[in-house]
């Protein structure tokens, strides 16, 4: 087998769905690209296998004997011990204690042990558990098997593979995704942020003409609302040697809020109506069925302005369908009130998401966004990133004096939610209202495909572009990173010792590059894991390595999961304190790498980004 890859493969490892797209390298030249979507064989009902474009990111852990022999047989495995895909989702609606869902959101949850067997969350003891990491490995393994069943001549580890992650994933979640990919047998792969993948998909959709649609000085706002998360990014159009270049200049916070929340909100409203009008209680399965019905009704209402109400029926669970089913309806007024006003309210540019103080117990579940108003999250993002273009060549004076938020000049929508022009239209109106208030021109909408597979397609296109064919978005890290060091100050009773933050990695480090070690020395205890507080900033673009911050605003620095270094005891006395310096770099894969370097010698020790993994 030749070493030269035949395909560029893009994998969208989504919160609710996975998809694979690929470019045939032998048939592609320049911006003419031969691209396909890989149909993924999966069990759809016991004993029956179908190939679908999407693989639902669900894992079902059946009880022994619960399913008959051959019920889960796949083209590449006779008797898998668990189920992945459509069947897992279906079985999970009736047996929620055995289904793992949203593993990806758990992968980015710093409050839990992400390598620990904690899923399904809250399941009884008897149910086997997996870690968020393992669940991700299983989804990727399924995709690899699906690929290799179709392309036995081209094993995936010999192809150019790109796996997407949310732009808002923290360094530990990126590292865990890369680890899952290695475990699943993807030797050669790189990570790509989903909003960038969406933009690549748009670029590809314009054929060779994307340069006609944007110009120097443009700031593209990518609003990507997936099934479970909302991901925001800003991409600037700059110029280098006379050709247009794309720079990803900022990414938003991790917002656990997506299309599924919207469908559920509609279902809960209709359920309330049913319970009030018919006096019938709905169980969890019926709510799922209702959510399904509401999703379809919503699509009809959003696409056809002539329709005022769509009937929604909750089927009976028993075989008596007539009389046992409950009919209700979803009205246009409800969709507009709940979806448009609830998730995309008209707010001012200075609006900020409401936050409630979380009780200690809420940390056990997923940290869902407390404010469902996506436009408020958007206002907060643009407000926070007002200075994102300050240092970019060609953007001097782009923002008027006294601007309170960064002015986007174009918007790209991605995700199935925006199949409805009502919702994308509302976001556009709101943003343009803000722009008008500051005397700026309205942002135009970049028309493109809002398909479920746009991210996978964009990822495959990027895998292709990386080979030097076509345009690339420049990015680098979207945060500067800091390590927390206790100040040498006399202790004051009742007060935590003050912490200073030392910058170890500046903003915008490109893949495959390394920083100088920070001059400050930290003490590591030989043979014992030592933990450090770790921070990221998406706004401090000018801090260099070694910069010390004595104090900072709450929204300036965000605390990340602690990092941990363990010095092996070889040739040293356990308990001895060794001074080290920290050095940061970004791997070719796209993950942050931290190393501890002792004052003497040439040794380097890896610093773990995900402390709880080895700590707990």
């Amino acid at each position: 087998m030749s070493d030269e890859p035949s395909y560029a493969v893009g994998i969208d490892l989504g919160t609710t769905h996975c998809a694979v797209s690929y470019v045939d390298l032998d048939l592609s030249e320049g911006e003419e690209v031969a691209q396909h979507v890989l149909p993924v064989p999966q069990t759809v009902s016991p004993g029956s296998v179908e190939s679908l474009d999407l693989l639902p990111s669900f894992l079902y852990l059946p009880k022994q004997g619960e399913l008959a022999e051959g019920d889960l047989t796949l083209p590449w495995e006779k008797a898998p011990a668990f189920a992945v895909g459509e069947i897992a989702r279906t079985l999970g609606t009736k047996t929620p204690i055995r289904v793992v869902s949203s593993a990806k959101s758990w992968l980015c949850h710093g409050g839990v042990d992400r390598r620990g067997s904690i899923l399904p969350h809250g399941a009884p003891e008897e149910v086997p558990k997996v870690s968020p990491l393992q669940a991700s490995i299983l989804y990727l393994e399924h995709l690899r098997e699906a690929w290799e069943a179709k392309h036995p001549e081209a094993p995936l580890d010999e192809q150019e593979v790109v796996i997407t992650v949310p732009a808002s994933f923290d360094p530990a979640a990126r590292e865990l995704t890369a680890e899952a990919a290695r475990e699943a047998g993807f030797e050669q792969m790189v990570l790509l942020e989903e909003p960038q993948a969406a933009l690549y998909s748009w670029i590809q959709g314009t054929g060779t003409e994307w340069r006609d649609h944007v110009q120097l000085g443009d700031v593209i706002l990518v609003v990507d609302v997936g099934g479970g998360t909302t991901d925001l990014s800003l991409i600037a159009v700059a110029e280098q040697d006379g050709t247009l270049e794309l720079h990803r200049i900022a990414v938003g916070d991790h917002i656990l809020l997506g299309g599924d929340n919207m469908d559920l909100a509609l279902a809960v409203a209709v359920r309330a109506k049913i319970e009030e009008e018919k006096g019938k209680k709905l169980d969890a399965w019926q709510l799922t069925a209702l959510t399904h019905g509401c999703r379809q009704a919503k699509e009809t209402l959003l696409s056809d302005p002539e329709v005022d109400a769509v009937p929604v029926v909750v089927p009976s669970r028993g075989s008596k369908l007539v009389g046992g089913s409950i009919r209700s309806e979803l009205t246009r007024e409800e969709v507009e009130r709940i979806l448009v006003e609830g998730f995309f309210p008209e707010v001012e540019a200075d609006a900020r998401p409401k936050t409630r103080a979380r009780g200690a117990l809420t940390q056990l579940g997923l940290p869902y966004a407390q404010d469902a108003g996506i436009t408020r999250h958007l206002a907060a993002f643009l407000g926070k990133q007002v200075g994102a273009t300050e240092d970019l060549e060609g953007f001097e004076g782009a923002l008027p004096e006294g601007a309170t938020f960064l002015h986007p000049t174009a918007i790209l929508f991605n995700g199935g939610v925006f199949n409805s022009s009502l919702l994308s239209g509302r976001v556009g109106e709101v943003v343009n209202g803000w722009l008008e208030a500051e005397g700026a021109a309205p942002a135009r909408v970049l028309e493109g495909a809002k398909l479920d597979v746009a991210v996978a397609r964009g990822a495959a296109y990027y895998a292709y572009a990386r080979r030097g064919q076509g345009v690339r978005i420049r990015g680098g890290t979207a945060q500067a990173y800091y390590v927390g060091v206790e100040s040498a100050m006399p202790a004051v009773p009742g007060m935590e010792p003050p912490i200073t933050a030392v910058c170890i990695a500046p903003f915008g480090i490109e893949e495959g590059s390394e920083c100088d070690p920070a001059p400050q020395e930290l003490g590591l205890v030989v043979g014992e894991p030592v933990e450090f507080r770790f921070f990221g900033s998406s706004v401090r673009r000018d801090d260099g390595v070694g910069q010390v911050l004595e104090r900072w605003d709450d929204d300036e620095l965000e605390e990340l999961p602690e990092i941990q270094a363990t010095l092996p005891a070889e040739g040293r006395t356990p308990g001895e304190v060794v001074p080290v310096r920290l050095r940061a770099g970004v791997t070719e894969v796209g993950t942050l790498r931290l190393e501890a370097i002792p004052r003497e010698g040439h040794e380097r020790w890896k610093v773990e980004l995900d402390v709880r993994a080895s700590g707990d």
Partner: protein, 199 residues
């Protein structure tokens, strides 16, 4: 070698030739022995022998024309489809139910479940297109040599093509079928498993 009944003189010549060949040709003699015993004159053909050597009278083939074959489709695909319609659209539940005393409103609600689900099942597994592109009610022409599988003539069926008539039904044609694959051990007779909820 088609003369079934040689004339008298031909038989004299044949007897003359046969006398000497029986004496001097061992193979020929063996054939005569087989004939006397009521068997065929030629030895059963060896495998290498060309099949053209076999005398297969055409008349015989015409006399015993095989009966028309009426195929029975295997039950598996039918059961699979039934399972699909039940799973997606509760088809069997609905058809098995007694509707005599049910209110039309309840039937309507249930029909929505069945319609939506069965439509999804059909759309996902079959590509269905109308046979005739014209609108129903339009006058259409059926040309000579039309495919009788695709077009059914009804009513006053006389005369010669081209025929003129009204399109009463556009017809449906499945252009593509993609049924799920089934695992070997799976029993397709169970189109919906009984459900027992543990509490």
């Amino acid at each position: 070698m088609s003369d079934d009944n040689p004339s008298f003189f031909a038989r004299i010549f044949l007897a003359w030739v046969a006398y000497f060949r029986t004496l001097f040709d061992a193979d020929f003699a063996a054939g005569v022995v087989r004939l006397r015993e009521g068997g065929p004159a030629l030895p059963p053909p060896k495998e290498e022998e060309a099949p053209a050597e076999k005398p297969k009278p055409e008349k015989e083939a015409k006399k015993k024309e095989p009966p028309p074959v009426l195929k029975t489709a295997g039950p598996e695909a039918a059961l699979q489809l039934l399972g699909l319609l039940q799973r997606e659209g509760r088809f069997v539940d609905f058809v098995e139910e007694d509707l005599a005393d049910a209110a039309d409103e309840d039937i309507g609600a249930a029909a929505r479940v069945v319609h939506e689900g069965c439509r999804k099942a059909l759309n996902e597994h079959f590509t269905i297109a109308p046979v005739h592109a014209s609108e129903e009610g339009e006058r259409v022409t059926v040309e000579e040599g039309f495919d009788a599988h695709e077009i059914r003539l009804t009513g006053n069926v006389v005369g010669d093509p081209p025929f003129e008539g009204e399109l009463t039904h556009r017809g449906w044609k499945v252009t593509d079928v993609s049924l799920p694959k089934m695992s070997e051990g799976h029993d397709p007779h169970v189109i919906a498993a009984a459900e027992v909820e543990l509490s």
